[in-house]
Amino acid sequence: MLAFIVRRLLALPLVLLALSLAIVGLLQFLTPEQRAVAFVQNEQQLRNLDKVIREKGLDQPFWVQYSNWLKEALRGNLGFSKASNKSVVETIKERFPATLELALFASVPIIVIGIWLGTLAALRKDSWLDQLARVFVVVAYNVPTFVMGILLLVVFYGFLGLAPGPGQLSPENQIALILNPVPRRTGMLSVDALLAGNWPVFLDVLRHLILPVITLTTVSSATLLKVTRSSMLEVLSQDYIRTARAKGLPDRVVNLKHARRNALLPVITLASFTVMGLLSGAVITETIFAYPGIGSWGAQAATLFDVPGIMGFAILTAIVTVVVNLATDILYALVDPRVRYD
């Protein structure tokens, strides 16, 4: 197993190299002017467009641009992102923890609801619970994230006043943080506030997480629920389940140990995609709730043709993908003893 993990991790630099080459290559299809406009905020600044092109080396040949980027990247400098007006490394350091925080809080309900409700729906096929789960899937699957997010915001924040407004903190805690700052240990505000024992800030961050987490849970758990349910139904109709029941094993053991464990394999694959998606930033959810994650930065970098930004975002996403894939493979082995990597 260890050899497998090391092998997979060793492949990571190659993946990153290929990815960066592809991005720089693709961006060459845009003219230097188109890329330089990323640095222009108003009509007036345009008078210096040629200077911007020269200074940023946007008119250099592909290989020169790429090798310049690579040289700096190897020294840990991923360049300056126009989308965040900061260095890429600083942007990632600042924003990734927020994304991680949102993903952590959202993955628990997504996976629990998806797997738990999916299993229950399959076990009680055609019951009211199953019907309800199916309606939930249809609704959640068909309502786009931005509609769901804005709907939740308007109803629970605007109309009912049950949830707080956008951002991570209410105004009073924004101010309280000036006098009593929370030391940045993990970058995740909830965790840092908890570590510092700052309860008002911790609870405020949790409050602000409610709506984004509900949005993500609704949208992402539907698919998981659907797959768990159908996978369970398939397994439950297998001969070995009938045999297990015939042997007199209690329902609980049959359902959870014999059936669900086998039904989980496709669910793990899907869950890994969901986690990957969450860790690459939930662009729409972050935008609607003004959450300072990497998703909204990545989207902005793409619209601005912000090359270092796009590159930094892609590299981060690639690392996340490799790591989550690795974790998924390990999980396969744990769930299914037949899976061996050695």
Partner: protein, 569 residues
């Protein structure tokens, strides 16, 4: 016990959410804040904070955009030849770092701006006044340390002296621009910024200061200092040692909320004192909402025009390139009859009614009516199909009316206002003669800018926002053959050039006023542009907020149009 803890958590999570505290100003906007370094400030999002953290030598007097008053300076004198400006500086002023403000800081600030003068910054117009060129030393090797040092220096009495190569009537107005705010020299140098010496200046030429150390840790003399900044929030607190006394608003929070619906909800709930609302149709959602105040009919300080390029550079836009009804010749708009015919074809009133929802002003010249030099008595074109027909019939010796044309007009993709303006023009022109065709082309901003700046496009609609409150910033830009917009219009008129040059050479306001009236009259005569009516602005804010209406000045970058220190709740 468990139940009690759970109950406590639910209660804590479910508590009612209070509105913005009375000592706090909270504003939500969609734009990111690029920098807090004045040396790189050239956008309104940065300017909104920079103008409250730092201070300029002079500022606008109340609501006026033409009168200035001292701020960090207490008085100034201008030499008889208009080339030397001497500023007496305010005493007893402290920077946020604790350093006292001296002439050395002011000298350092302007020298730093002249040395760096990066392409992203607005320092080109400072350089234009002080060095006689908008370039930095990299692009213009004739700029030496000696020239920079002589242009701005402190005299023995601790006064700041500017020496201009030639008179510039707009110079004072340029100093009121947030980008020319005074920075704390000692603090900046301690952070690793330029040390202000001749020895090192060359290595700072053209340097982009957007993400400078000073931007991360600003220290100004303004009423507010930076307290906290993260990816989506900037928090300022009142500076206790501010020379003008402690302001009533103690905390200012700027929150970046990209989604308009979210911002509007926050405004309605009282969780923001004001938000970036977006265009006028949004107003319908906010009218009658309790607790909100709407300030409408705010003068527009930008000018927008439909450009008629007299020397179209890109053959792709010309079709056949001839007067044969299948395209246009490159000099299509060089015929004044064509330009006048187009001017008479635009339905100004319909544009005001449909696009500006009745809230618009028809302009006599491409200059905001609040600016000194604007003359409302200058004649304007009106929508008149008969006159338009008559001019089209005269164009190209009558040939154009017979052959017809196909014109490609471009506008910025996604801009509803620009699209509607072009559609109005298209419909009216095509109505006159079945052989006339106007094809509308929507272009992404980057493409539009790229093509129009080289004069490739026959017709575009673009605007200009002021860098500083002087008519020269608009009129020279649009009408002079050396003006910034010249390559897009190729409007060259020796009389306009002469008038604008004369207006640049005198600091006598009355003389300039007369000259600008003549510019307006001549511009009407030569009809280089179609003056698009200007939409009136509006702002919506928490009704508890006081001091907005009394102080609102459109030259400020921030939404409230005044220093935050003038506000209270």
């Amino acid at each position: 016990m468990k139940k009690a803890a759970l109950g406590g958590l639910v209660l804590a999570l479910g508590l009612a959410f209070a509105a913005v505290p009375a000592n706090t100003l909270l504003y939500m906007q969609s734009a990111d804040i690029p920098t807090l370094d004045p040396g790189a400030t050239y956008d309104t999002a940065s300017g909104a904070l920079v103008e409250n953290i730092y201070e300029t030598l002079v500022t606008y007097k109340g609501k006026s955009v033409s009168e200035l008053q001292p701020l960090l300076a207490t008085s100034w004198t201008i030499s008889g030849d208009g080339k030397t400006y001497t500023f007496t500086l305010r005493k007893g002023v402290t920077f946020h770092s604790g350093n006292p403000f001296t002439c050395e800081d002011a000298e350092y600030t302007f020298r730093r701006n002249l040395v760096t003068n990066s392409p992203e910054s607005g320092n080109w117009f400072l350089a234009e006044s002080l060095l006689g060129t908008s370039a930095n030393a990299e692009d213009d090797p004739s700029i030496t340390w000696d020239r920079i040092a002589k242009a701005v220096r402190c005299d023995k009495e601790g006064r700041l002296v500017f020496t201009l190569p030639k008179p510039d009537p707009a110079f004072l107005a340029k100093l009121a621009f947030a980008g020319q705010s005074i920075v704390d020299k000692k603090w900046a140098v301690s952070l690793g910024e330029w040390d202000g010496t001749e020895k090192t200046w060359k290595s700072w030429v053209g340097k982009d200061l957007t993400d400078s150390e000073l931007s991360k840790k600003p220290s100004g003399t303004g009423a507010y200092q930076l307290a906290r900044r993260d990816a989506n929030t900037v928090v300022l607190t009142a500076f206790p040692k501010y020379w003008g006394g402690k302001p009533k608003i103690e905390n200012v929070i700027f929150q970046i909320v990209k989604e308009q619906a979210t911002r509007i909800e926050a405004l309605k709930k009282g969780d923001a004192d004001a938000v970036e609302t977006g265009p006028r149709p949004v107003l319908a959602q906010l009218q009658g909402v309790p607790g909100l105040k709407i300030m409408d009919d705010i003068p527009n300080n930008t000018a927008t025009a439909i450009f008629m390029n007299q020397k179209i550079g890109n053959p792709e836009y010309l079709g056949s390139g001839k007067l044969d009804g299948k395209g246009i010749p490159a000099n299509f708009f060089a015929d004044i009859n064509v330009r006048k015919a187009f001017n008479y074809s635009f339905d100004y009133d319909r544009y005001i009614k449909e696009v500006l929802q009745g809230k618009g002003v028809k302009r006599t010249m491409l200059l905001p009516e609040t600016f000194f030099g604007y003359d409302p008595t200058i004649p304007t074109y009106t929508y008149d199909p008969q006159k338009a027909t008559a001019y089209f019939k005269k164009a190209f010796g009558g040939k154009l009316w017979e052959t017809g044309f196909v014109l490609k007009a471009t506008y910025r993709a996604g801009s509803q206002a620009a699209q509607t303006a072009m559609e109005i023009l298209k419909a009216n022109v095509e109505k006159l003669n079945p052989k006339f065709r106007v094809e509308l082309v929507a272009k992404p901003w980057s493409d539009l800018l790229k093509e129009s700046r080289t004069g490739g496009v026959p017709m575009i609609i673009i605007g200009w926002a002021p860098d500083y409150a002087d008519p020269d910033n608009f009129l020279y830009t649009f009408y002079h053959s050396q003006g910034y917009y010249h390559p897009r219009s190729n409007c060259s008129d020796p009389i306009l050039d002469q008038l604008l040059d004369q207006a640049r050479q005198t600091t006598d306001r009355e003389k300039r006023k007369v000259l600008y009236r003549q510019v307006g009259l001549r511009a009407y005569e030569v009809a280089c542009y179609i003056n698009v009516p200007a939409g009136l602005g509006f702002i919506v804010y928490n009704e508890k907020l006081k001091g907005v209406e009394e102080n609102f000045n459109p030259m400020f970058s921030n939404y409230f149009g005044t220093y935050f220190r003038n506000l209270s709740k």
